[in-house]
């Protein structure tokens, strides 16, 4: 595996993992306390979140300085690529759980609930038609596909183009093209998030479409919400990569950080296409 490289870089020790775990613990504990009617839990959450931010900042900083310090070569690079690919696969499976729930509730549960003998069911008038907030749910208007969601689809698809254009710039050694491409991608990401926020506002104030709106509301907000969260993370990652590109951290041969973020961004893009088809359109 290491035809050209005799030594693999093994870091001596890592200061941050135990601290990161402590942060995660405080965040989770505080959230649980807060959910169970103990407002001071918020302080534990904030502390935990602060610790996590600090650690992530320092940890990634450490990795970046090792990368710039030329400690990583092709052998390590291959590990990082495999690692990122499998991480994205785990994210695919996370979204699969929610798409699976949508499929199950819409295709199996709703028709079955509607198929019971009217004399023996508490919900004799339930038809099982989708979109549905269930037999006892509040009325709502579903989100139309060909308004903001269609625009958002165009935005994300364009952002996939701009990040690829930036990659071409990187491969050809044109830093201006790299930076411009990344900046456009970040802008498109932010625009997407803004429109998504507007859409949520409209859903809550105009359409009666809330988390509480039965099976449709739950799957709609969990799918689009987790996607939006991933877009947020992806945008933050793109901003970091943009700043690093401006500093000249990447070369045509050595730019794993850029590619990892680009892969992640394409993954978020693909999830959105599925969302657009299965949540908004069909």
């Amino acid at each position: 595996m290491s035809e050209t490289q005799a030594h693999y870089y093994v870091p001596h020790h890592s200061h941050y993992s135990a601290l990161l775990s402590a942060g995660v613990f405080l965040l989770a504990l505080g959230f649980i306390l807060r959910l169970n009617g103990m407002p001071p839990g918020v302080w534990s959450m904030l502390t935990g979140f602060g610790v996590m931010l600090f650690v992530l900042f320092r940890w990634f900083g450490m990795v970046i300085s090792e990368s710039v310090g030329d400690l990583y070569h092709r052998w390590e690079d291959r590990s990082f690529r495999w690692g990122m690919a499998w991480f994205i696969f785990s994210e695919v499976m996370f979204f699969a759980a929610f798409f699976g729930a949508l499929y199950y509730l819409r295709v199996i549960a709703a028709p079955e609930l509607a198929s019971f003998d009217p004399a023996y069911t508490p919900y004799p008038n339930f038809t099982g038609a989708w979109p549905s907030s269930g037999p006892k749910g509040d009325p709502f208007t579903p989100m139309a596909a060909w308004g903001i969601p269609a625009i958002n689809t165009l935005i994300l698809l364009s952002s996939g183009v701009t990040v690829t254009w930036a990659h071409w710039g990187l491969l050809k050694g044109r830093r201006a093209q790299l930076v411009a491409g990344l900046a456009m991608t970040v802008a498109l990401g932010l625009l997407f998030l803004g429109l998504q926020a507007y859409e949520y506002h409209e859903a809550y104030t105009e359409l009666g479409l809330t988390l509480k709106a039965g099976a449709y509301g739950a799957t709609f907000f969990m799918l689009t919400g987790f996607h939006g969260f991933h877009v947020t993370l992806g945008t933050i990652m793109l901003i970091v990569i943009l700043l690093r590109s401006m500093k000249g951290h990447f070369s045509a041969e050595n730019h794993f950080g850029f590619e990892a973020v680009a892969w992640y961004w394409h993954f978020v893009d693909v999830v959105w296409l599925l969302l657009f088809v299965f949540v908004y359109w069909l």
Binding site: M1, S2, A6, H7, Y8, V10, P11, H12, H13, S14, Y16, S17, A18, S21, V24, F25, A28, L29, I32, L35, N36, W75, R78, S79, W82, G83, W86, F87, S90, M93, F94, F95, A96, A97, F98, G100, A101, Y104, L105, A109, A110, E112, L113, Y123, S132, S133, G134, P135, K136, G137, L211, K212, G214, A215, Y216, G217, A218, T219, F221, M222
Partner: protein, 525 residues
């Protein structure tokens, strides 16, 4: 080939363990953590068996009983069984593959250090509950079925976040294992020349990356239903509690193979070493592992035959489940053929390996009974089921791990362990295990339901036997701890090749091995 001096300025004391990126240190921490969890989960179930010693409520009220059986399941599966296997992988994979360390050493450190806070989160409400604060730990059974998990007390919230953290830990550890296997093998070691253990763990890690994110999504839905008004599992809003069962068992069934496959990978090494013969049918075993991995993710709903599934669904899940017995039978055949006409000797690792092969066989065959949808309607949720999956899990996750631990202990510590005591450990565990679980098949067939703190008078004798057996089983682990401590502190020096029949790169390293296993990779022909 490798230098023995650790890097300068290596932290010592507590900091060494907190900061370490060394696969051996992390492997040790995983194994010690698993042992602590084994004792914790064991103590919980001993209290349950004490309650079940006689009919009637003797020691505890049903709510405490429910918490204990739930925590026992979660602690044993996520706290003991999986970390034990990951500990073995951490120790052995770099040495077996000829690598300096795991591929992502810092990530390795973090995936371990998520575990202790996760375990703490799981048991915190239990301890608080004993002190009279809150509603106690999660009490739904480890399957956390909705709508009970939506309605129960705050222990469920702790369990949800604990599951999130445990899941993150195993996903990260799995990524590390896969990357190590794909990228860190010695030059010349093709995938089909890899040790069986690496194959077993490669399949396990793949499964974990497929299933753990789905469980994370599922418990998130439970959390949303509990606190944020969604209706994933509530029919009034168009949801369905059976959805939870699908999500849970999509994780829960492959989880069984997550626990089996590392052991199915390790056992051939042990059998081959003590039969002094090469592993029989290497390719057949590898292909069987692939088949098991694939089948395990498409059979989950055989846990749900009684949930009101269509007949077509029942037939599909019944036959696909039975199909798994084919690749498993290939594995059994290869294990036995490895022993065939071998010059066998019966040291402790061999005893535990043989215990695994025989007892796990019983677990597998009784599984075929339960896989039959018509029979399952009768046995489901009876003690027959409890006996079945303990015959499947105890031989794998405890006996299999013990076989591996005794096999590699001389390599890890540099000392031979006390063989006589280790054999005593095996026989006490073997007798205790069978005495605990064999009677449960019979009370189950006679109709005793599981997860109930009280039972009808006619089950009294067999339950008494079962409780005595569990105590014997508990004592066997104390012998184990004594043997390990004795071995760590001293004993006869172990050779590099501690067992004369053992093969593989790990036996070319000194015992104990150098700090960085292979600083320069060996070349495999």
């Amino acid at each position: 080939m490798s230098h023995d001096t650790p890097h300068d300025a290596l932290p010592t004391g507590m900091k060494r363990w907190l900061y370490t990126t060394n696969h051996k240190d992390i492997g040790t921490m995983y194994l010690v953590f698993a042992l602590i969890m084994l004792l914790t989960g064991g103590a919980m179930i001993l209290a349950v068996r004490a309650e079940l010693f006689q009919p009637g409520l003797q020691l505890m009220q049903p709510d405490l009983f429910n918490q204990l059986i739930t925590l026992h399941g979660l602690v044993m599966v996520f706290g003991a069984a999986m970390p034990a296997a990951t500990g073995l992988a951490n120790w052995m994979l770099p040495m077996m593959l000829g690598a300096p360390d795991m591929a992502l050493p810092r990530l390795n450190n973090w995936s371990f250090w998520i575990l202790p806070p996760a375990a703490l989160l799981l048991v915190t409400p239990f301890i608080l509950g004993l002190a009279g604060v809150g509603t106690g730990a999660v009490d739904t059974g480890w399957t956390m079925y909705a709508p009970l998990s939506i309605q129960t007390g705050w222990g469920m919230d702790f369990a949800i976040f604990s599951v999130h953290m445990l899941g993150a830990s195993s996903i990260l550890a799995s990524i590390n294992v896969i990357v190590t296997i794909l990228n860190m093998r010695a030059p010349g070691m093709t995938l089909m020349k890899m040790p069986m253990f690496a194959w077993g763990f490669l399949m396990t890690a793949t499964l974990l990356i497929i299933i753990m994110p789905v469980l994370a999504g599922g418990v998130t839905m439970v959390l949303m239903d509990r606190h944020f008004g969604t209706h994933f599992f509530n029919a009034a809003g168009g949801g369905d509690p059976v959805l939870w069962e699908h999500i849970f068992w999509f994780m829960g069934h492959p989880e069984v193979y997550v626990l089996l496959l590392p052991i199915a990978g390790a056992i051939p090494h042990v059998l081959s070493a003590f039969a002094r013969k090469p592993i029989y049918g290497y390719k057949a075993q590898v292909y069987s592992l692939w088949a098991i991995t694939f089948l395990s993710v498409v059979v989950w709903a055989h846990h749900m035959f009684t949930s009101g599934m269509s007949v077509g669904g029942q037939l599909y899940f019944m036959y696909s489940t039975m199909l798994i017995s084919l690749p498993l039978a290939v594995l059994f055949f290869c294990w036995i053929a490895t022993l065939w006409r071998g010059a066998m000797s019966f040291e402790a690792p061999m005893l535990f390996a043989l215990g695994f092969v025989t007892l796990f066989g019983w677990g597998g065959l009784t599984g075929l009974v339960l896989a039959d949808a018509a029979a399952d309607a009768q046995y489901h949720n009876a003690y027959f089921l409890v006996a079945h999956f303990h015959y499947a899990l105890y031989p794998t996750t405890v006996m299999g791990v013990m076989a591996a631990v005794y096999f590699w202990l001389p390599k890890w510590t540099g000392h031979m362990y006390n063989e006589r005591l280790a054999k005593v450990h095996f026989w006490v565990a073997f007798v205790g295990m069978n005495l605990t679980f064999l009677p449960q098949f019979f009370v189950g067939l006679a109709g005793m339901p599981r997860r109930i703190p009280d039972y009808a008078l006619q089950f009294a004798e067999f339950n008494m036997l079962s409780s005595v057996g569990s105590l014997i089983l508990g004592v066997s682990h104390l012998i184990f701890i004594y043997v390990v401590i004795q071995c760590v502190r001293g004993g006869a020096k172990a050779e590099s090749r501690a067992w004369e029949g053992a093969n593989g790169l790990e036996w070319t390293l000194s015992s104990p091995p150098p700090y960085h296993s292979f600083d320069v990779q060996p070349v495999v022909r």
